[in-house]
Symmetry: D2
Subunit: 140 residues, 4 copies
């Protein structure tokens, strides 16, 4: 519990406890309950068969950053469902994902994700429903 | 072109040219235009802050396996849009993703993905629209 | 409460209390917690500018039938989120929507929807997350 | 063809050729290739069993308004896939749907939809992929 409150504030701690994010070279550049940001510097481990960033990794940025925006309230969440639309791609530079709060509910928090290249060109756009694990009742 | 036809048939070749999939320890166990399969043995690099497989990686399996089902016709595709619903998770054993063809179109191929643990319990269910890059006109 | 239990069993009662479904000529042909069915006979009020069934109405069948499958457990639900993929369309005959349970949770029930024409040709495929309004705590 | 160009500019003509929209009392208040708007005055035919606007009708507004934004370029489109997240609901006043262009492609146009009540409260948020029927080749 204390741990989770802490997580909401310290990117380094969060990354050190999130093996997948760290292994895939993600950087957390902002955590806030309104808008968080995660970045990825395009690297050889990130590429698909066409030589651009794998869609799975682009989605992973969306999942990570929307989770951070949800978790920034100090509660624990799991991803419930997500939709992503892919618009463009890159083979170098940074991919920057923003998780923008649409609605914070008791049980479900809806966060939009916009993913851009370092020039502000939209690469993907999606929405993620985060389901909260913490409440008085342990429901669901 | 010839390369892409080949890709559709040889999992090892495909993985060796898909850095992200290989880096994240994915295994291709079946490629067919009707139903493909990708597996992941749960490993430390795969885990999120709750100690189970990161949702981004689960989606990545969905993206990969639906792409294989689409590509098994010998054409090149990019992921256009996707939805995934998360149902369960695991911290050990195998995660197995199946990409089941729903509709093959000239431009768009729709593939469903069912992701299960090694006991056949459903972990996630989604659909992915794959957009074909190859046609006579180079459209889109 | 009693009313909701009743609703789960009697299609006529349900339709008479669901103005939009009735106004749009929907027929409930099966209500069950595993798989429900709603039909629409294609009629002039159902058509879009291309002369086939409006996508909004096709989605409405999906929303209705997945809601029935959720509600068949006797609880009240609202649609939380939904994705639909459109595959084909018709300008006559019946459109038949099936709501197939994927997972029933305490708070969220996930139902898949397959929509077919009267010859069994797939017209649309989607998934709907239904959020339950009833529990001990009134959470959310 | 000429008809479609015209459609993009004249709401009354469009409604008169879109039976479902007209039958369900939708009003077109703006058509533009960047952002269109469709409204619905809440009426008895619009309600679900809980006495608020049926989710199918809310989605229908999203489908209609995103289609208008796509079609405003003078081409014909069908809805390919859509996701909608439901956030709130009303039992009176206006429901206002805006279709905001995210990306116009040769084959696929992606439009976001924000649906609000008359006080600007967000009721639903979604994205719709519109597939273009017109090009030189008749592909797909």
């Amino acid at each position: 519990m204390d741990e989770n409150r802490f997580v909401g504030l310290d990117p380094e701690y969060y990354l050190n406890h999130n093996s997948y994010m760290k292994y895939n070279h993600m950087e957390i550049t902002k955590i806030s309950p309104e808008e968080s940001e995660v970045r990825l510097r395009v690297n050889p481990d990130a590429l698909n068969i066409l030589g651009v960033v794998h869609g799975g990794l682009i989605y992973s940025l969306a999942d990570a950053v929307t989770g951070l925006t949800a978790r920034a309230d100090g509660r624990r969440y799991v991803t419930q469902s997500a939709t992503i639309n892919f618009i463009g791609n890159v083979n170098e530079g940074y991919v920057i994902a923003k998780g923008i709060l649409l609605r914070r509910g008791k049980a479900v928090t809806l966060v939009r994700c916009a993913i851009e290249d370092e020039n502000g060109r939209l690469l993907a756009d999606g929405t993620v429903n985060m389901f909260c694990l913490d409440d008085e009742t342990g429901r669901e």
